[in-house]
Amino acid sequence: MQAGDLDEESTAWLRRLDAASPERRAAERELHARLVRIALAEVRRRAASTPVTGQELDDVAHQAAGDAMLAILGKLDDFRGESRFVTWAYRFVILEVSSKLGRHYWRNPPVELDAGQWERLPDRFGMDPAQHAESAGVLAEVRRIVEAEFTEHQRRVFVAIVVDGIPLDALAAELGLQRNAIYKVIFDARRKIRRGLVAKGYLDEPGLERQ
């Protein structure tokens, strides 16, 4: 990426953040202040969906901003100008907030790993098996597929995410896996369960792979 291809603001950021720039310290302070502001706004936006609260939430924001700052400075050479510089930089702090909220979940988890609260599954899908016999059959078949046809790892991930409602990033942190690895397990599980429900006549075949 040549500096000439960049917008004016991004060019200025790169020039000021250059190791040889006399403005580097000031630019770092300015960027860090922006990252803190964005991280604080982000943790507050997500406050309703995390058990992390109060000062710990602010601490997460400050830690995320600090770690994002280090990552940005260490990867300046990777910035290829495919977006504005600030958008590229802010991505780091948003992803840090997600990762840290996932890890902090386990300090006061509303649900423990492997809780297996199958009785809550109907609520997760807005189903009422007491009123609809078909729902009871579908849910029983979902559980049978999970317990009989999934590997132990698939079953553990599915139960944690779908049955117990543990946030995906929290499970990823606990199991030492990337978000994508957890998502792939759930993606494959969804396909497998759909195939099973179609085979039993609970769902229609055309829905198997809607384009």
Partner: protein, 71 residues
């Protein structure tokens, strides 16, 4: 609305789904396209499909879009 609608939506998978890793790798580009009023989903259909299906990635997308809009 059928009793099974929510479950069906959950079980629906889009073969174009790019996955978390690919979506997050271009999230800044995707967000800038949206902020500029361009057709981000048309340029990155796999990312668009993924954001519809993955709650955590969609949260990151929303957070980054709001961060950029707050400038």
């Amino acid at each position: 609305m059928s009793e099974l609608d929510k479950l069906e939506r959950f079980l629906h998978t889009d073969p174009r789904d790019a996955g978390c890793e690919e979506a997050m790798a271009v999230l800044h580009i995707y967000v800038d396209l949206i902020a500029a009023g361009e057709d981000a989903a048309g340029r990155y259909p796999g990312v668009a499909a993924h954001l519809l299906a993955c709650g955590p990635c969609d949260e990151d997308f929303t957070g980054l879009l709001l961060a950029v809009a707050s400038e």
